[in-house]
């Protein structure tokens, strides 16, 4: 299933310069993202995953290297790329509905039309009845759902998801994993999903790209197309891949 490459990062490096010394966050990362795949970027905490997503989103400039989207280099933020932020980044002064609408609002879509679209995605993430709630009144899992609906409603080609379930309890996390796959199969888009959780990576990914400790370098790539969906956390093949990845991770600690 060789699919078309939609986004290509080549030789991305990022160094933060400061008076207390320079800090390499990312070192020579090259990767391809294929259309409509679920790509997981797996890396240990603080290795530079968020920085890499910020570069792809056009929020941060790489020190060197280029990112191309459909063959064109990315210079700033771009309506083809939406972001589900690690700490939700919901606007607390807006209701769930108004948060989901912002992508369309800033594009100038008339109110009635964007209401309809936002309503559709709020329902898709299971938040019917919470349209008028403010983020403060929502649980952690519900906030991330709003964040996911907001990203989808902007109608991007690529969705970046930065550890969206990282702050959730185990139970909620499992159900959200299942749900994100359901949404992905209904609303086919390219997803780049960041996590530091190996089990989550194996459950979700078509492909996993594993990163080293900081500075992040590509360590290994795993093709999981052999694992059929829906996947089972205790399936022998699932467990084998999981162990293989975690063995690789541990090597880094030595």
């Amino acid at each position: 299933m060789e699919k078309k490459v939609i986004l290509e990062a080549s030789h991305i490096s990022k160094t933060f310069f400061s008076s207390r010394g320079d800090m390499d966050a990312i070192e020579d990362v090259s990767l391809n993202v294929r259309k409509n795949e679920f790509l997981v970027l797996l890396g240990p905490g603080q290795c530079g995953k968020t920085v890499l997503l910020n570069i792809i989103a056009g929020l941060v400039n790489a020190t060197s290297g280029t990112i191309t989207l459909d063959g064109k280099p990315i210079t700033g933020t771009n309506s083809s790329i939406a972001f589900v932020f690690q700490r939700t980044g919901l606007y607390e002064w807006k209701t769930a509905m108004e948060n989901v609408e912002i992508g369309l609002k800033y594009k100038g879509v008339p109110k009635e039309e964007r209401r309809k679209v936002a309503q559709k995605y709020l329902e898709l993430v299971g938040l019917k009845g919470f349209e008028n709630s403010y983020p403060k009144a929502l649980s952690g899992g519900m906030k991330q759902r709003v964040g996911i609906a907001r990203a989808y409603a902007a109608n991007p080609e690529i969705l970046l998801m930065d550890e969206p379930f990282g702050a959730l309890d185990a139970q909620t996390r499992y159900s959200m994993q299942e749900e994100i796959l359901k949404i992905w199969s209904q609303e086919t888009r390219t997803v780049i999903f960041v996590t530091n959780n190996i089990e989550e990576a194996v459950y979700l990914g078509d492909r996993i790209i594993q990163f080293t400790e900081r500075p992040a370098r590509v360590k290994k790539e795993y093709d999981l197309s052999c694992l059929s969906r829906p996947r089972n956390y205790v399936d022998p093949e699932f467990l084998r891949i999981r162990t293989e990845i975690s063995d690789n991770e541990e090597l880094a600690l030595e």
Partner: protein
């Protein structure tokens, strides 16, 4: 945000709770007894609490300096409200512009930092020279007192907007004006209101001072009258009115803030 239950009250024994609610009343009673004792001793001009209270009721029927009491209250309220409205109308956009635009900040911040430490009352000679001794001059002095906290808080509010809010805006395509009105302003409303609250508190001080200096009306004038005519009851009634109006203003602006910021309601 208020919690539903008073946290001090949780897991407390009943005697503690009784003490917690009774002690302020006891203090007030002790204060009144002390006041009564001093007044009754006859060695000062201090009226008794009862006399002061009686005056608080009868004062509304008489006149002071040929004007009814309500006129004096109205004049003070009008002065502070005029100054507040002008300062909010000019100060909030000014502070936001200073936080939002680097060039604007570079031009006005130094000037502002120089003017800021000057106490409002210090402007009296200049304003009297420029605007005379009338109402305009008084309002200008009050503005000098309330304008600063409003500008400073609006400015700080804008500079403290979390970076993530800008990132979200950029990712979802916010243009410059979207960013200002849809992101920066609502993010800083909290700080802006904090500035207004500070301004109201400081504003009453300046109103009083300006009325004590040169005015024929207002609560500050009443207090000065009380002092000049050895009518301490009048001065005490004036002090009491300031307390009441201060509380009314504080509640009023809280109410306004809750109306403008529905997301912060419980």
């Amino acid at each position: 945000m208020k919690t539903k239950n008073n946290p001090l009250m949780e897991n407390r024994s009943l005697p503690y709770k009784i003490f917690y609610y009774i002690s302020p009343c006891l203090l007030l009673i002790a204060f009144l007894i002390f006041w009564q004792a001093v007044a009754a001793s006859g060695r000062t001009l201090l009226p008794t609490p009862y006399e002061a209270l009686e005056r608080l009721f009868t004062i509304w029927t008489g006149t002071i300096a040929k004007k009814p009491m309500i006129y004096h209250v109205f004049m003070s309220v009008r002065r502070i409200l005029t100054a507040l409205l002008i300062s909010i109308g000019v100060g909030v956009p000014f502070g936001v512009a200073m936080g939002w635009n680097k060039i604007f900040r570079a031009i006005f911040k130094p000037l502002f930092e120089v003017i800021r430490p000057v106490p409002p009352i210090a402007w009296v000679p200049l304003f009297t020279l420029w605007f005379g001794t009338g109402e305009g001059s008084r309002i200008m002095i009050i503005i000098m007192g309330v304008f600063m906290p409003i500008v400073v808080n609006s400015y700080t509010g804008v500079t403290m907007v979390p970076e993530i809010n800008f990132d979200v805006g950029k990712v979802f395509g916010a243009k410059s004006m979207d960013m200002l009105f849809d992101v920066v302003l609502p993010s800083s409303l909290n700080a802006i209101f904090a500035g207004i609250r500070t301004a109201v508190g400081g504003g009453w001080m300046v109103v009083l001072a300006s009325e004590m200096l040169a005015a024929r009306s207002g609560i500050g004038y009443l207090i000065m009258q009380g002092s000049n005519a050895n009518d301490l009851e009048l001065a005490i009634v004036g002090m009491f009115m300031i307390g009441v109006l201060g509380a009314v203003f504080a509640y009023g602006f809280d109410f306004l803030e809750r109306g403008l910021c529905p997301w912060r309601r419980k």
